[in-house]
Symmetry: C2
């Protein structure tokens, strides 16, 4: 049910087509919430029949169908209600930590590679979130810019602050994961060093 609110969130800034939303879900917003086209199109249809959004057909010249969605007043009410409602917290279920607990079962090289992937993945996430945060802070993010244009100036600070706050949480999380992966690689080094005694050269050194 969260996709629905992610879509409403986007539409609180400005009207968009499903295609444009799908693009955003693969790019900027997609770093927080990803969804494939095949989920977005039907969900928008459902939201339309629930009266949360309304569509305007854009027949640009030819007979190309293109539907631009706009949030309705009911949609705004629904979105505010969602914003007010606390979410349930459920127990985390993290495969990566589960695997990490059993890395002694893996080949040391395979173990190292997996931690390296963890490091790489979260480093990239970190970079993207840093970029997003900056785009929010300097107001260059297009969705944010549109949003600010449609809202009174005295609210701008709050709007920007919460967006940045959200990204900063993700940034810190990514940093935590990166640090953890590094510690894991160090641990592997230490354990293999023990096993092989003063065995050989360390082939790679991380910055």
């Amino acid at each position: 049910m969260s996709l629905r609110y992610a879509l409403l969130a986007l539409l609180t800034a400005r009207p968009l087509t499903a295609y444009d939303m799908a693009k955003q879900f693969s790019a900027s917003v997609g770093h927080v919430w990803h969804a494939p086209d095949s989920q977005i199109y039907p969900e928008l249809r459902r939201m339309e029949s629930d009266g949360l959004v309304e569509a305007r057909e854009l027949t640009s010249g030819g007979r190309r169908t293109k539907r631009e969605y706009r949030i309705t007043d009911d949609g705004l009410v629904e979105f505010r209600a969602w914003a007010d409602t606390p979410l349930d917290y459920q127990r985390e279920r993290d495969v990566h930590h589960l695997k990490a607990a059993y890395l002694e079962w893996a080949d040391p090289a395979a173990a190292r590679e997996q931690l390296q992937r963890h490091l790489t993945f979260h480093s990239e996430q970190l970079q993207q979130w840093l970029a997003q945060r900056d785009g929010v802070l300097d107001r260059s993010n297009p969705t944010l810019a549109a949003r600010l244009e449609n809202s009174p100036a005295e609210e701008h600070e709050r709007v920007v602050a919460f967006k940045a706050f959200a990204y900063e949480g993700l940034i810190e999380r990514a940093r935590t994961e990166v640090a953890w992966a590094r510690r894991g690689i160090d641990l592997l080094d230490r354990l293999s060093g023990t096993a092989a005694e003063a065995g050989g050269d360390v082939e790679e050194r991380r910055a």
Copy 2:
């Protein structure tokens, strides 16, 4: 498909009944991987028919059926293969950060309560993971104790090290979330302070 490996992981330590596994999935292991009974029982049956585990019927006195599962050699092969295989990383999808980005839509009191919940939830998680980590380090964790009994002494260090490593990742993550929630509450204070000027007393102070 991860439940399968979580179950195999448990069974690498010692044979267990589905009921005992279900209990562990609600308690100790459950902090890393939770699963309800209704998923565990059928999955074990499927694993049995796939030859990864085998069951021994324990008819203790009466005609009470009770099946104790043990991992097979095929199961061990499968588990090692899993341990060697890198996982796919998919984009995170975090409702809480999504909501945080739109907290300006929420009533300030509701926003505060949600951040407070975030803080509480992750504080509790933190406590439980710290306890788990300690139970691993001092080898008092029952599953770990059983595992160590069934493995040669020279491997004990590795076994313990990876379990502790996994929990430490979760510990750091929980700490990150706690810190983020605190920052969020501070942000709310700051913004409401701005809106209400030097408004009123701060009713609660966090340690």
